[in-house]
């Protein structure tokens, strides 16, 4: 469970987060919607303790990332919006590296890599060096890395970008499996279809503020618009008018 209450963060004169509050429950996939520049990256970085908030409270599984970032990070799988692989390492070596950084043993790592690889359908690239991987292959490797240490919380920034149909389905299966395991998943995305298909809960943020939280149906009902995309635009648009 991730609980965020009135979190604010300013960089000099720029107010990146002006008051974000939400609750993401275990066993649910929570969508994080927001236009570019809404403060999603800042929010996710604050959740893993890379940035310190100016105001408010955060609890990731009962732990405050400002107080014990290491404990929070051990329990979080973080897929950033931009990421690079290490071109001179193979996929397995890449996964070994991050597994060991998360304190995993060599033997348990081997079995876990096999599991994750099967889940994401990436056995064919496991022993290859990551140089020259396609966008889809790169996302798979990065996703495998986030799932590797069995975190209870997942922060995924656009996990489905660049994936082909088969891989998207694999990702969906993986997310469903995580939900069934009782994980708390927060997924930033721009694909409304995915939100409707996967997410129980939606957080909409714009200009550093939480604009709305609720199930897709609730959001549609509140705005009186049947289509989630139109509802999202209307939520963001009206709120921007006020701010």
């Amino acid at each position: 469970m991730i609980e965020v209450h009135d979190v604010r963060k300013a960089f000099g004169a720029v107010q990146a987060l002006g008051g974000v509050s939400f609750t993401a429950r275990d066993g649910q996939i929570t969508a994080l919607l927001g236009p570019n520049g809404a403060g999603k990256t800042t929010l996710l970085r604050t959740l893993v303790g890379l940035l310190e908030r100016d105001h408010g409270s955060i609890s990731v599984g009962g732990v405050d990332p400002a107080k014990d970032p290491m404990a929070v990070r051990r329990d979080i799988g973080f897929l950033t919006d931009q990421f690079g692989l290490y071109e001179r390492l193979t996929t397995r070596e890449y996964l070994d590296y991050f597994g060991e950084l998360n304190g995993m043993q060599r033997t348990s790592l081997r079995t876990r890599i096999a599991e994750v690889s099967e889940l994401l359908g990436m056995d064919d690239i496991l022993e290859r060096r990551t140089k020259g991987f396609s966008q889809g292959q790169r996302i798979k490797v990065a996703l495998a890395r986030t799932l590797l240490h069995r975190p209870r919380h997942l922060l995924l920034d656009e996990p489905s970008r660049g994936l082909d149909v088969m891989s998207t389905r694999a990702l969906r299966t993986a997310l469903t499996a995580l939900r069934a395991d009782g994980c708390c998943v927060i997924m930033a995305t721009h694909v409304m279809q995915e939100v409707t298909a996967l997410c129980e809960d939606v957080i909409v943020i714009a200009r550093g503020h939480t604009v709305a939280q609720g199930s897709p149906e609730e959001l549609c009902r509140r705005t009186g618009i049947a289509n989630l995309e139109d509802a999202f635009v209307s939520l963001v648009g009206t709120e921007e008018g006020i701010a």
């Binding site: 950033t80 990421f83 290490y86």
Partner: protein, 394 residues
């Protein structure tokens, strides 16, 4: 569970070793500098011992007119080659072919002038572009001595003491001992042996900081449950390894070469043993640590590999400055020199080449002069990586 620092260390080292450029640089520097030094020393020895080895070859035209001169030359171990009269061009060609150190030409009226006590002309032809200065000087000295002998004999015949010709007497004393001369020459040249400590750390240091930032993998790494000091120190130590290995091999190779070369032939000494050389290698290891720490602290702030490389190529010159300053100002070795990184290593090796009696202090100072700043810079880099300003820029 392995420590996070070691996890980072081994991963970075593995990546570095998979890069061909790093390995070829390592090989190049390990071999290049000892080879340069070996070659230069060999050339010096060769040049200085040539006269002794080969003797002096001299061609004489019209030598029959001065049999005393010829026999005096022969006594001084000069190989005389009597040749027939030839044109100026032919003499030039003969000298150009380096068959002979010089050509003496006695004019045809030599005997007449000699008997009449007029200056009898002897032409000395030489090629100043040829590397036979010492041989030529020897011939000139013999000619000088021949001239003064005749003058003395003539003065005696007139009842004048030959001492009147030498109002002063110059006696030369050279206080430069073999060892101090050796220190000057070797001392200048061995400074370059420490330079690879600043070359071999660069690529790994830049790749694991600015490179990682450019490839956008740094944010993920920083979001892992590892402290920033563990990340920085792992990268720092991994970047130091190629330089420590390279410099150690290079120093040992240079030592083997200098110990093997017959330096005593040119009055020089290399009075180090293998044990001392290993100690020098040990106290030089922190120099690589310092350069890696410096590069990491600087390169982590660069946004791209290229930017970092440009910045560091300026920084790379800094360690050369103290060495140049000291040799330009001709400063005598002083204790403070053991406190300046690079200069301390250079001074230590220079003094050891001269004499083995140094004591432990210079070793300890040299070791610490690099290690302490290296630790401070690495701590600074770790502190910097933790700062919010840095996270934002990643």
């Amino acid at each position: 569970m392995r420590s996070k620092l070691l996890v980072v260390f081994f991963k970075e080292l593995r990546e570095t070793l998979r890069e061909k450029r790093t390995l070829s640089m390592l090989l190049l520097f390990t071999l290049m500098y000892p080879a340069i030094i070996g070659y230069v020393m060999h050339q010096m020895i060769d040049k200085n011992t040539r006269t002794e080895r080969e003797g002096v070859e001299l061609a004489i035209i019209g030598g029959a007119q001065a049999p005393t001169l010829v026999s005096q030359l022969r006594q001084k171990n000069v190989t005389i080659n009597q040749v027939a009269p030839m044109s100026d061009e032919a003499i030039g060609a003969l000298l150009h072919a380096r068959k002979t150190a010089a050509v003496l030409r006695l004019s045809e009226d030599f005997v007449d002038n000699y008997s009449a006590m007029r200056p009898a002309r002897i032409e000395l032809w030489f090629d100043s572009a040829a590397e036979n200065g010492p041989q030529r000087r020897q011939i000139e000295e013999i000619l000088q001595a021949y001239g003064s002998n005749i003058a003395s004999a003539r003065l005696l015949a007139h009842g004048v003491s030959p001492a009147a010709l030498s109002p002063i007497q110059v006696q030369r004393y050279d206080t430069g001992t073999n060892a101090s001369r050796s220190a000057m020459v070797i001392g200048g040249i061995i400074g370059i042996l420490f330079f690879p400590a600043f070359m071999l750390t660069m690529s790994a240091a830049v790749d694991s900081t600015a490179g990682e930032r450019e490839r956008r993998s740094l944010e993920v790494l920083m979001a892992q449950p590892a402290h920033s000091w563990e990340l920085v120190c792992g990268k720092w130590l991994a970047a130091s390894v190629p330089a420590i290995v390279g410099v150690t091999l290079e120093l040992l190779l240079a030592h083997a070469l200098l110990a093997w070369l017959p330096l005593e032939e040119i009055g020089m000494s290399w009075s180090l043993g293998w044990g001392q050389m290993l100690l020098v290698c040990l106290v030089t290891a922190p120099l690589s640590l310092l350069s890696a720490a410096l590069y990491i602290a600087l390169a982590m702030n660069a946004k791209s590999f290229k930017e970092a490389q440009t910045m560091l190529s300026f920084v790379m010159i800094v360690p050369l400055i103290p060495g140049f300053a000291v040799s330009a100002l001709e400063l005598k070795t002083a204790s403070w020199m053991y406190l300046v990184p690079t200069l301390s290593n250079h001074t230590l090796l220079k003094e050891l080449a001269k004499s083995s009696e140094l004591g432990a202090l210079p070793f300890v100072l040299t070791f610490l002069s690099s290690l302490v700043p290296a630790l401070l810079v690495a701590a600074f880099a770790a502190w910097r990586m933790k700062s919010e300003r840095y996270v934002l820029a990643v």
